[in-house]
């Protein structure tokens, strides 16, 4: 008797849920078709483009194996830029994250830091890079600065969230011994967020390698620049070699960062 009405309500809720899902699916299909029509998507050129692409692809092979020796240095440049940007980002994001978290920083400081981070994250690396090129000229420096800044932005945001998730009792217990705020940070906040800092820093390193290739294409040097010049001079076999090397670089950096991350999550290497 008493269970009938709640069951009925549950069934009505389920029916409503199904209706909502059906409407959402329909809406998605309609929107896709509508936007395809509005943007004049030409299905004919799509088909011919594929044919052209295949014949263009033939120009890429075989890769220019002899180019490897002179591409090793640009590969190293890209790697080093990514590495330095990540390290700078990790070091500088810590104070930014502390200033941005509600359980550590006073309100005005927190708001200022949060808006700085939001602003920074609002500008894609490539836009920052172009602005910096206007200041420093072409070269490694603007790329390095752009990547460092965006590393700070991302890591500071993630870390600030990690700091705000620390149990308040843990901080209070340290504070209640008569510790100063800086001692609370040193002995409660930093040990608790160190795993997050390292794990996210490693992720950021992978990202910086890939982003470094792109920034290279717009003037930061490294393997991206090689690729760009090869494509522009229609030296496709050389571009193919650069692509292969980029693949290897990205793959290796992911393997390295994965193995480090696994070790961190095991709880070792953390003291």
């Amino acid at each position: 008797m008493g269970t009938e009405i709640p069951l009925l309500e549950w069934r009505q809720g389920r029916a409503a849920h199904r209706r909502r899902r059906a409407v959402a699916a329909l809406l998605l299909v309609v929107l896709t078709l509508l936007s395809a029509w509005r943007c004049n998507v030409d299905f004919h050129s799509f088909a011919t483009g594929i044919g052209k692409g295949v014949s263009l692809l033939e120009l890429f092979f075989p890769p220019e194996w002899s180019g490897v020796s002179e591409m090793l240095q640009p590969i190293a440049v890209t790697t080093v830029i990514a590495l330095i940007a990540t390290l700078l980002g990790m070091c500088l994001s810590l104070p930014c994250a502390l200033a941005a978290s509600s359980n550590i920083a006073p309100r005005p400081l927190r708001l200022a830091m949060r808006s700085f981070i939001a602003l920074e994250r609002g500008l894609p690396e490539i836009v920052q890079m172009l602005l910096l090129v206007a200041i420093f000229g072409l070269g490694v420096i603007p790329g390095l600065i752009a990547l460092s800044f965006s590393s700070i932005g991302m890591l500071a945001k993630l870390l600030a969230d990690a700091i705000e998730e620390i149990e308040p009792h843990m901080l209070e217990a340290v504070e209640a011994t008569g510790a100063t705020r800086s001692q609370v940070i040193r002995y409660a906040v930093i040990p608790q967020i160190l795993p997050a800092l390292l794990a996210n820093g490693l992720f950021r390193f992978e990202f910086n390698v890939r982003a470094g290739v792109i920034l290279g294409a717009v003037g930061a040097g490294g393997i991206g620049f090689i690729m760009m010049t090869a494509m522009n001079s229609m030296n496709y076999q050389r571009a193919c070699m650069a692509t292969l090397l980029t693949l290897v670089l990205v793959f290796v950096s992911e393997r390295v960062s994965d193995s480090f991350r696994a070790r961190i999550l095991d709880g070792g290497a953390l003291r």
Partner: protein, 281 residues
């Protein structure tokens, strides 16, 4: 000796969470505060360490040489100085989980260490040795190198007592130290606290009148923020009813439903009292 006089904690709405509570605790005492959840037990203890600032009232701690420390209406620096002498034992998860057990114990004396030394050098050998002795007193020396996060609830509670012991305070405060523990672990904790109380007074909040009757020397009963009993730890059923009320009555339901959160707006939360008053970083 700890002296609490006319302690009042009032929300901006006018509701009094702790209403004119006065008591003092002296040598050799093991005092238990009893009362329903939300009666003001924890809040009173939080006021004593200055984690919550009371609306009015005075809390004074006096050492054997007659020097006294206050945790009410003082600046951040003086509050920190007073806190060095109060050993706080929380319920449950107050340890820094990513530090080792030994490091957690050494945190007890941070108030005596210059922040610059904390950042540049860390703890000394002598400090580690004394912290080990404190761990030994609670039978946890063998776990010194483990991460605090890997301990069981009972073990964490013992480490947090070791931290308070290492602090060498003038008084121990224990906020529901056995609430989250099974009966055997609870007994173990009480039989650590009882001998401690002979050297240094212990005041704790508890929910177990039977356990309290066996270990404590005195009970303070609070109900809806007011002190309703102060006397022997052996409570008669009438005295128990005075503290806890009749579980079937309407006022009981009302009182327990009106549990104030410790971080309720209007009460100053965790780090803020000292932060807003400009603690040097």
């Amino acid at each position: 000796m700890l002296q609490v006089s006319n302690l009042l904690v009032q929300l901006p709405t006018g509701k009094r969470l702790v209403n004119d509570v006065s008591f003092s605790v002296g040598r050799g005492e093991f005092v238990s505060i009893l009362g329903c959840s939300g009666a003001g037990k924890s809040l009173t203890l939080r006021c004593v360490v200055g984690l919550t600032r009371p609306t009015s009232g005075e809390i004074r701690l006096t050492d054997p040489r007659g020097k006294s420390y206050r945790t009410t209406s003082v600046g951040a620096k003086e509050l920190r100085r007073a806190r060095r002498h109060i050993g706080l034992i929380f319920q449950g998860s107050n340890l820094v989980k990513r530090l080792t057990v030994l490091e957690n114990v050494m945190l007890g004396r941070l108030g005596h260490i210059h922040p610059l030394r904390s950042w540049l050098l860390g703890f000394t050998d002598a400090e580690a040795r004394q912290a080990m002795e404190a761990l030994d007193r609670v039978n946890m020396a063998s776990c010194a190198a483990r991460l605090a996060g890997s301990l069981s609830g009972g073990e964490m509670q013992r480490v947090s007592i070791a931290r308070a012991i290492y602090q060498r305070p003038l008084i121990y405060l224990a906020d529901e130290p056995i609430s989250s523990l099974d009966p055997r672990n609870a007994e173990a904790i009480m039989s650590i606290l009882q001998p401690l109380s002979r050297e240094t007074p212990v005041i704790g909040a508890f929910h177990q009148p039977a356990v309290v009757a066996r270990y404590c020397t005195r009970v303070i009963g609070v109900r809806a923020g007011q002190l309703v009993y102060d006397g022997s730890a052996q409570l008669s059923s009438r005295q128990l009813e005075r503290i806890y009320g009749d579980a079937n009555s309407e006022t009981f339901a009302e009182e327990t439903a009106a549990q104030p959160l410790l971080f309720e707006p209007g009460l100053q939360p965790a780090l803020h009292p000292s932060l807003s008053s400009g603690v040097p970083v």
